[in-house]
Subunit: 358 residues, 2 copies
């Protein structure tokens, strides 16, 4: 018998998924459960396993195809398992690791997979591993390399938490290191050296004074950002340090290419040695595409700009419009006390069933 | 037979001492050799062992007493053992770990111990352990607690490298942490947080703009300093950090007490949370005392202000004038390539023999 009952209320299914611990790199158990459940309860789908990812799809010859993608992994456990349910009915909330990021979205997608056998669009479900760690380990990247045919569609819906509001496009993100070099000396004879940490005074001033753009694209407002995320330097308690490094994270709206964003960073920190250490391009909203417009209509309300970077951008890079749509407040993601409203899980289910014509 | 021939040229004795590896905490072998040599070759002295320190003294009823103190330990080996001798005669140089810091000084003191049986002043020799590590492990501190009577004198000569010039007094040193607190947020929504690293911009500007004092005391010029020695902050590549810490090292001239120096730091960083994490008071030159004046006369030339902190300050705190006087360039201490001129070792020997009336 399955651990997961895909036909049940996706709120119960969310709770069951949360209770299968699945920290990044350790998703075998949850992938096994998802695979078994899809094979036994969604016989109309073609199911394949790829590493700790599980993929499933229809092949009904519909004119369009929609991908539903959700990662199965979570950030590390922080005394927030097993799931704790509080309240009843629409007032119920689920507390625990993954309730927000993103087993609520996974539950809705699994529920759709089993309960909508004749969707209006062909559908592909992608449940994958290692989204919460370095981009190079991301299961979606592996699928792209090994099963590229599975990632062709006319719209991708990524079930990351978005307060059950459609978030379109996404900002790019770039990390850069600013490295300053001085000359080492004993602090008792500091004038013989050049203190590299002191040289970071100017880049920090530039950061403090920085005013980010808030461009409007397709009616959505983006908010860029430029933040120090790490600073380090120092040799010993009595040594003038000869090197210090400041790492900044730049979030840039999707009207700028990575090259343009890098150029901007180099202008801001003109005269400093700057190297890009991590980069993910943004994605334009793409809400004009037919399937995307249908989804917006089904969800009602005004879509929002996606500020954080999500795998939406990977799908956008594959040439399809992609949106973020899932239950839960993204501000709670990765916090110890993450929790989601049962009502929001059910709302996303209702919208997506309607979008699929069920 | 002794490994160490105390009656020989102290240059040879320096080489022999260098070849007894004695990284801090591992001084048993060198202390054994020093103890055996003093007991067998300086029968006129009372010799005691304390941990890995060896003490020896006369009791001739002279009106004054002088302490000669040298640490036996070195910083870690760095592919710079055994000793390597280059050149001959006065052009000879000894290369290797401890040649500068401070087995040249130790060798001169051991030579005096064995070859000046009737010094003008009563003499106390203190060869001790663990000077190159945390103050709490310093052998001199242990001797102060366990054999306080051995550290009473009218002048202390610490044989740390000083280019064979008398260095008087020493600057105090203080480390302080400046801790800034912000509010954590995701970098995609940075405006919800307060970036602690950005808040270090102002303390770094204060450091960059800081102009240290150069006070004159007893005719000696001191140079103070205020230097960042460590900076750290950062949670993850996509998180606005809520804490950052800047560690500064303040070197202050001996006309300021530790309390005055701390008050000064708090004025410089007014408005910031500052805590003192390490503190060693300075020591006034005290060259007016008779034995100190005799030493200055014997050495000829102008004494210099001691800028670095040495155990001179420990003796000053015990109420006696204390100077630093030894062969070797202190700028080479702790460097892989430390090396000393044989001529400088012999010069210090000659001056100190004359000072002792030999």
């Amino acid at each position: 018998m399955s651990i997961l009952d895909l036909g049940a209320d996706p709120v119960d299914l969310t709770a069951a998924l949360v209770d299968i611990e699945s920290v990044s790199g350790d998703e075998a158990a949850i992938a096994d459960a998802v695979q078994e459940a899809l094979e036994s309860q969604a016989g109309h789908l073609e199911v394949v396993r790829n590493g700790n990812a599980v993929l499933a799809r229809t092949d009904l010859g519909r004119p369009g195809r929609v991908i539903f993608a959700g990662h199965l992994d979570t950030v590390p456990v922080n005394a927030n398992l097993p799931v704790r349910r509080e309240g009843t009915g629409d007032a119920e909330r689920l507390h625990g690791l993954g309730t927000v990021d993103m087993k609520g979205g996974d539950a809705v997608f699994l529920h759709l997979a089993a309960t909508v056998p004749a969707p209006k669009h062909d559908v592909t479900f992608v449940f994958y591993d290692c989204e919460e760690v370095e981009a190079v380990r991301n299961g979606l990247g592996r699928i792209e390399r090994e099963l590229p045919g599975w990632l062709r569609a006319d719209l991708a819906i990524v079930g990351e938490p978005s307060n059950a509001v459609i978030e379109a496009g996404c900002q790019g993100t770039m990390r850069a290191e600013i490295r300053v070099t001085g000359a080492r000396a004993h602090t008792a004879r500091a004038w013989r050296g050049v203190n590299a940490i002191h040289l970071l005074s100017e880049p920090l001033r530039l950061l403090s004074d920085y005013r980010p753009r808030t461009p409007k694209i397709d009616g959505l407002t983006y908010r860029e950002g430029l933040q120090a995320v790490k600073i380090s330097g120092g040799v010993a308690g009595n040594v003038v340090p000869d090197e210090a490094v400041l790492t900044v994270n730049h979030r840039f709206a999707p009207d700028r290419s990575p090259e343009q964003a890098e150029k901007h960073l180099r202008e801001v920190f003109d005269g400093f040695e700057l190297s890009i250490v991590d980069l993910s391009p943004g994605a334009l909203p793409g809400l004009g595409a037919p399937a995307a417009a249908e989804l917006v209509a089904a969800a009602g309300g005004q879509p929002m700009a996606k500020l954080g970077w999500t795998d939406v951008a990977r799908f956008a890079a594959l040439g399809m419009p992609a949106v973020n749509y899932g239950p839960g407040d993204p501000a709670l993601a990765h916090s110890q006390g993450e929790n989601v409203a049962a009502a929001e899980i059910r709302q996303v289910k209702t919208v997506l069933r309607s979008f699929l014509g069920a």
